[in-house]
Amino acid sequence: MGETINFIVKDKSFEKFAMMMLLGTTADAMDTKTNFFFTFWGLKLLTKKFKPKVAGMPFPMKGMAAGMFKKKMATFGIEDPWGMIKDAVENGNMKLFPCQMTMDLMGIKREDLIDIVEEPVGAATFLEMSEGGKIVSL
């Protein structure tokens, strides 16, 4: 018990979403706490009804590829990614922090974000939170 890993999520791609989901939920199973700080385009992942697209695919296939990956991952047993994240958040091990400055910059309001996020924080809060710990940028 006791270890915390802090992640910065700065992109809105399906890949970054999947990494966040897999690492956060697995860490929860391993009793490791994770803080995810969503900044710049990464914050889009926390907005309601947002559908991430696959960054690694060429232009016309980005959205379709996300659907294909989702279907394939469901056959692996990953059927409800947001449900898995919700469980990890409710267990108290995974925390999703919206970046306050990004919200102001992009005109995103608290009510535009999904329900399970923490109160928005600024850079100083994130740095203080992760002081002495690990920080990983996704």
Partner: protein, 74 residues
């Protein structure tokens, strides 16, 4: 015989780990869980999970198409 059996055939990373943790949560101390998987990654991932949860792996059997773990809840 194990107290409980968990079939994670067909499930891939990280599902065997998440399913194992969920199952162990509902078991009592000293009970054993037999976990059957076919994801090769689980060979390293399940011991990594168990080293964190403080439970123990009594036995690991590697078959041609599947791996069987016997886990004892701490």
């Amino acid at each position: 015989m194990a107290d409980k059996t968990l079939n994670a055939i067909g499930k891939k990373c990280p599902m065997p780990v998440l399913m194992t943790k969920k199952e162990l949560k509902n078991m009592s101390s000293g009970q054993t869980l037999e976990l059957v998987v076919d994801d090769k990654g689980a060979l390293k991932d399940v011991p990594a999970l168990i080293s964190k949860t403080g439970d123990s792996i009594l036995e690991t059997k590697e078959g041609e198409n599947q791996i069987t773990f016997m886990i004892k809840k701490a």
